[in-house]
Symmetry: C2
Amino acid sequence: MELPVLIDTLRAALEHDTAHLLRDQLEDVHPADYAAALTEFSATELWTLLTVLPRAEQAEVFGYLPAEVQVKLAISISRRKLSPIIRQMSSDERADLFNRLTEEQRDTLLPALAQAEREDLLRLSAHEEGSAGAIMTSDYAVLPPDLTVREAIEVLRLEAPDKETIYSSYVVDKARQLIGVVSLRDLILAPVSMRVDDLMNHDPIYASVDMPQEEVASLIAKYDLLALPIVNEQHQMVGIVTYDDAMDVVAEEATEDFHKTATIGKLESSVKHAGIGLLYRKRVFWLVVLVFGNIFSGAGIAYFEETIASYLALLFFLPLLIASSGNAGAQSGTLMVRALATGDVKLRDWGSLLGKECLVAGLLGLTMSAAVVGLGLWRGGPDIAVVVALTMMLVVLVGSLIGLSLPFLLSRFNMDPATASGPLITSIADVAGVLLYFSIATWYLGL
Amino acid sequence: MELPVLIDTLRAALEHDTAHLLRDQLEDVHPADYAAALTEFSATELWTLLTVLPRAEQAEVFGYLPAEVQVKLAISISRRKLSPIIRQMSSDERADLFNRLTEEQRDTLLPALAQAEREDLLRLSAHEEGSAGAIMTSDYAVLPPDLTVREAIEVLRLEAPDKETIYSSYVVDKARQLIGVVSLRDLILAPVSMRVDDLMNHDPIYASVDMPQEEVASLIAKYDLLALPIVNEQHQMVGIVTYDDAMDVVAEEATEDFHKTATIGKLESSVKHAGIGLLYRKRVFWLVVLVFGNIFSGAGIAYFEETIASYLALLFFLPLLIASSGNAGAQSGTLMVRALATGDVKLRDWGSLLGKECLVAGLLGLTMSAAVVGLGLWRGGPDIAVVVALTMMLVVLVGSLIGLSLPFLLSRFNMDPATASGPLITSIADVAGVLLYFSIATWYLGL
């Protein structure tokens, strides 16, 4: 069923009070689609439509709801009604929800859980946001090393309903330390009497709980893993991060970096659902900071007021010269920010990239000079044409080198290179552009 | 083994001519890591180091090499030596390589393949770049509907070595039309005498061969799939796209959009390995186009030359006013470009977002006005302060609305919204800023 059709069906059912008859119609609807449709309804309506489903599917659909909607429900629906759903959620989704609630709301929900679930929840939500610990799930399949393949498959068959995946099983010793990993594919292919520790990979790829989530995601992408085991400081197995959560991290990090290129702060919510106050707060800081950065450009212009007063024609070229400097800088800056984020380029590559950038930017500068020299002749005469062409060459070069270097500089001092965004580089390149332009003009025109 | 250590080990082995003794040392090295180390060597050295491995692993490592390196090897190594590796590659990786070769190089490689492989390769590489067909693999597991679970598992056991995944199997009828999907998890859990068509999901999520790859990736992410079946126009099953390829697509598309925000053309190679000519070509087009965009700002300034000549102090504020307009525009533009790319926002949302943006940008404009009014008083006196504050308010609002609307406009006319990048929006916002500023000044100062 297409989303608009589904929404209309649900709306009609609510209006005619026939929601309880929906269950059969919904059988073929994917939980992700049902969740998407539910976001169009109010909390009470949503609850009515959610509880039409069989209990097990309620938790699954609930897990697909956007975080903001989950919180809204958690606050507005009584604990007694909500707790069966919370109990059936996967452990990582439950911890995510929990982390978005206030202390008071958490205290209301906690008693709804059994002792073991409660401890697991508190353990999972204790990890720092953005770390492997914060996105891992504790619902993974564990095998002792001394089982036979036949026994191992039997264990997995029994445990499957509660596990996030049974395609990768983790082999731990008595101290719960990770000693191997075995795939269901290998188990299926192996002779049934073979021992797990003869079959398993003894050197599994793993990560520690405090590894940043973007590194976790790139390990999963690099090694094409279904799930990455997570260990604590004692090398004990504490969770797994699955490929689908890694995909979400990749998208989330890309969005965050994207927003940074336009000096927008980290937005946890979707743009569509974000409130006015939130959007204002995420945008205002850098806008104001950059104003003060641009005062230097203004001061540069003021300093050269006499030059400008003598040759007002110079002003015509000001926007295109400083814009070109900023644009060239934004280009090389963006190339570096992204290459650093994806690991294509490392800090130590700066030197060799600088040499290459000098050549590329030099060529770009020459092209840009050629593009404006005619304009200079037409609008300002031969002298101004020379000044404009010379300045263009230099500002494209200088802008590019600033754009290339700033992300490395920030990275070197452990700041996020993505902060070296277009607007920041543009502001710096603008100042350089103003100073270069009027210095060259003052010198060449003999003022 | 850490990458630098591995590289040193390999270099030493080459120097002492002991590469053939490496095999045992390499047993625990992941193919992805070995491939990363190999990129540090020349084609001939690389070949020596690659062929140290057992045959099956050679193909796996080869598949992990960057595309440029694969092509370099395909060109420099003789067909007789290379063909066993090409034959063992997974079908999608083989088609990727093939698509990067010249016609002549292809003709050299084709005879090295068996008839069936050759046909499969030609079929796969016939699909348009960027479509589902171009990234799918034909190594998927197929089950007839009338098998029992026991028989199905036996089939998968036999076929596993040649399949990309056996965790999802696709059920097709006699006409090869896709009629269901069944997971290995369900097969393992089900009673062994149950029939596959009683167990399978009859309404699987699928995509057609010509669906754009980013939509394929978002289907996989949305439904948390391990693999997505791909069908042709007759609804016949022709391939699958696996989650790991979808992750690569997500990263690739993010990089492409990222580069577009700084008006950089699509770069197929890594920044580190890209040549000077390539980088020049990817950057020069928009730089030159934008220069001509900025002529309008210059013309705006020239038009108001008299106003400027009377109040040279106005120039001090020019950079910060036009930069603020551009920065605010880049912010709202970037928010929209990303939200459109991730599907958070649809074309039809433009109206409601416009209302919200007016409020947000209005607040931002007020804040920015307050931030500069003191500066205006100090540098220019009360009259100029009023002009500057009023202009700031308006340019932030106008810049934001341009930034918000441009991506929708492009999208509406089937152009990529990411083209509405920072520099393009900035250039347009600059013109608006210059005209607004000097118009207000001329009017308010009574010139």
